[in-house]
Amino acid sequence: EDQVTQSPEALRLQEGESSSLNCSYTVSGLRGLFWYRQDPGKGPEFLFTLYSAGEEKEKERLKATLTKKESFLHITAPKPEDSATYLCAVQAHWVGGYQKVTFGIGTKLQVIP
């Protein structure tokens, strides 16, 4: 069974204090790893897709990286508006007719001014 573990569960940062969120996964053949951002009372919003170990993607203050066992979401000089829950999800290769996506519980990030 595919598993996704995110750490820490919660993270509190001062504005400008860089840090990283971790997503460890166990999957029978990774097709893709997704990062989403979720604000309170809203649906998850897509950020990145990573497909192979060594791949990196960036968007503003966020950079996502991927190894064979985990992914990191690096946040550089965060601002209060970066406060949200960040979700990681993995998609396995074609199994039983489709490629199921499994989500982690998420990391709740709070950036204090």
Binding site: G41, G43, F46, T49, A89, Q91, G97, Y98, K100, V101
Partner: protein
């Protein structure tokens, strides 16, 4: 601005009542997902449709939940009868093939 639309946004109902949640996927998307989100379990997949055909509904309690896509612009999730343990936020999402999914705002369901 294309988006997934879900109705209602909030629903409070009594135990035993039928609940119907509706979703309008993004035009042109051929995959539709229903997820349930709780604090303890996070996002759980309930049902998955591709080209309106159900490919996976193994996450749903079959005796009380049902999901359908009567046409390409409408997906429905029904709970009958509803129970307090069904209280959660239900999300619909749509996508193209095997790429990322775009989520709606969710329906917050409270069963009392």
């Amino acid at each position: 601005d294309a988006r997934v639309t879900q109705t209602p946004r909030h629903k409070v109902t009594e135990m035993g009542q039928e609940v119907t949640m509706r979703c309008q996927p993004i035009l042109g998307h051929n995959t539709v997902f229903w997820y349930r989100q709780t604090m303890m379990q996070g996002l759980e997949l309930l049902a998955y449709f591709r080209n309106r055909a159900p490919l996976d509904d193994s996450g749903m309690p079959k005796d009380r939940f049902s999901a359908e896509m009567p046409d390409a612009t409408l997906a429905t999730l029904k709970i009958q009868p509803s129970e307090p343990r069904d209280s959660a936020v239900y999300f619909c999402a749509s996508g193209l093939g095997y790429t990322e999914a775009f989520f709606g705002q969710g329906t917050r369901l409270t069963v009392v």
